[in-house]
């Protein structure tokens, strides 16, 4: 009986509920961008000149940035950068630019994102948005949510990701079935593989407070962050619950005077 139980437990533990996997844009990639914050500059004039509202484009960029910044186990932070006049060329920071006549065929490509790199990591990139108003894939023909999905998808390419297998992943090539802007576990795994998060080395659970302090005190990096992280977590868990537990316990003792004691 014990053996059967052990086999059952072990068997349950190796069942795979997963059925998909992320990919990368190049076989040479060994990690993601070598930066804590990757900003995306925007060539607004290239878009407004093609009838695309800068406000709408920036709203889509902000939504996309916010989405990637919620990936739980990733360390890289995205941000919208400066307004620039750079064209569609590999640059660091990557630039988002609108073009007409570049994405001509087929007619359903809304945007393209790409990167170039060295040493196994992306070092430059850009995103170009379809600004051809004669095409059905013209950026303005899409809802705000779909526009944000498109920009987030292309940002995924600039980060180094390739296409995913399942239609619900952000990195799936077709957005037509999507009505919400969300990451799948596959997308999270991809960005995590490229830029894994390590809270034992980074700041206070993502706030970077401890690390920022330690930067001003060379020689004190790393260890203080770990200690303070653990102390803070433990203190939070302990103090926030113990008083509550004792109140509940006191209440129960009044209500149930014969409750067993240990």
């Amino acid at each position: 009986m014990k053996i059967q139980t052990a086999i059952l437990f072990f068997g349950l533990s190796v069942i795979s509920p997963h059925s998909l996997a992320f990919t990368l844009g190049s076989s040479s990639l060994i990690a993601g961008w070598n930066t804590e914050t990757l900003t995306f500059d925007v060539n607004e004039s290239s878009c407004t000149g093609l009838g695309i509202s800068a406000a709408n484009l920036n709203a889509a960029i902000d939504s996309a940035v916010e989405l990637w910044n919620k990936a739980p186990t990733s360390s890289i932070k995205l941000a919208r950068g400066a307004v620039v006049s750079t064209g569609a060329a590999y640059s660091n920071p990557p630039v988002i630019v609108c073009n007409s006549g570049v994405i001509t065929s087929p007619d359903f490509v809304v945007a393209q994102g790409t990167w170039s790199g060295s040493g196994g990591r992306p070092t430059a990139g850009y995103i170009q948005v379809n600004g051809d108003s004669t095409k059905q894939a013209y950026f303005n023909n899409f809802s705000n949510t779909q526009a944000a999905i498109v920009i987030a998808h292309e940002m995924g390419h600039v980060l180094g990701l390739g296409h995913a297998e399942k239609e619900y992943a952000l990195m799936y090539y077709d957005i037509s079935s999507k009505t919400s802007l969300n990451l799948s576990q596959d997308d999270v795994d991809g960005i995590t593989w490229l830029n894994p998060r390590n809270e034992l080395k980074s700041g206070m659970m993502g706030c970077a407070t401890v690390r920022d302090i330690s930067r001003n005190n060379p020689g004190h990096q790393g260890t203080p962050g770990i200690i303070v992280n653990w102390m803070a977590l433990w203190a939070l868990a302990f103090t926030s619950t113990r008083r509550g537990f004792h109140r509940v316990l006191a209440h129960l003792r009044k209500k149930l005077p014969l409750s067993p004691r240990f």
Binding site: V14, H18, L20, A21, A71, H163, Y168, N198, L200
Partner: protein, 209 residues
């Protein structure tokens, strides 16, 4: 009343008694804390729902409440400190890497230190902190996938990386029968970060020492 009718009635009564007895046994089996055994070392298996409400698995990309499912094994050791509470060190992990159909393997290892408060003969409450190590290992190689204009070659990662996230653990322990307990843990990963996520872990364990 003839003999056959009497026998049928007796038969019905017997069947009724048998069923009642089985129901009684079942009820007795489910009565909690019948004989709580104080064990130190527990071995169990469970189900972890990871990134609840954070990721999507539907074609319209709406978020899934349950997140991703993992089925880890758990080893726990209790250090009695006072009669009313103990410290518990736990290690949960998927014993083999969970593989996708594309052979990307994920390993889920979670260590925690919790303070377990004995609240009644069959209930405990616990809170503490822990560390989740989430590893992703790729097989390398390439695959052809649609890219909107046909197909393109994409690549699987060829090495392993792991992320480490601190978490708060709030849980309830239910001492079911004898040395078997059921734990329900609510985990808040990266609690102060904007990347905060929630997971739950349901574990059934047997005291072995």
């Amino acid at each position: 009343m003839n003999l056959i009718a009497i026998l049928i009635r007796i038969g019905k009564v017997v069947v009724f008694m048998k069923i009642s007895f089985k129901i009684l046994l079942l009820v007795l089996f489910f009565i909690p804390g019948m004989a709580r055994a104080e064990k130190r070392l527990y071995l169990g298996a469970g189900a972890a729902s990871y990134n609840m409400g954070k990721v999507t698995s539907s074609s319209d990309a709406s978020t899934s409440l349950m997140g991703e499912l993992y089925l880890p094994l758990t080893l726990s050791y209790l250090f009695p400190v006072k009669p009313t509470w103990s410290l518990e060190a736990s290690l949960s992990m998927t014993p083999l890497s969970v593989k996708t159909t594309d052979s990307i393997a994920k390993t889920f290892v979670m260590g925690s230190l919790t303070q377990v408060f004995k609240k009644s003969f069959f209930w405990d409450l616990k809170s503490g902190v822990g560390l989740l190590n989430y590893s992703i290992t790729g097989p390398g190689g390439s695959i052809q996938r649609s890219n909107g204009t046909g197909t393109a070659t994409f690549y699987y990662p060829g090495s392993s990386t792991s992320s480490k996230s601190l978490f708060l653990d709030f849980g309830v322990v239910y001492h079911w029968v004898r040395d078997i307990r059921i734990d329900f843990d609510a985990l808040i990963l990266s609690p102060i970060s904007t990347r905060r996520s929630f997971s739950t872990l349901l574990t059934i364990s047997k005291g072995i020492l």
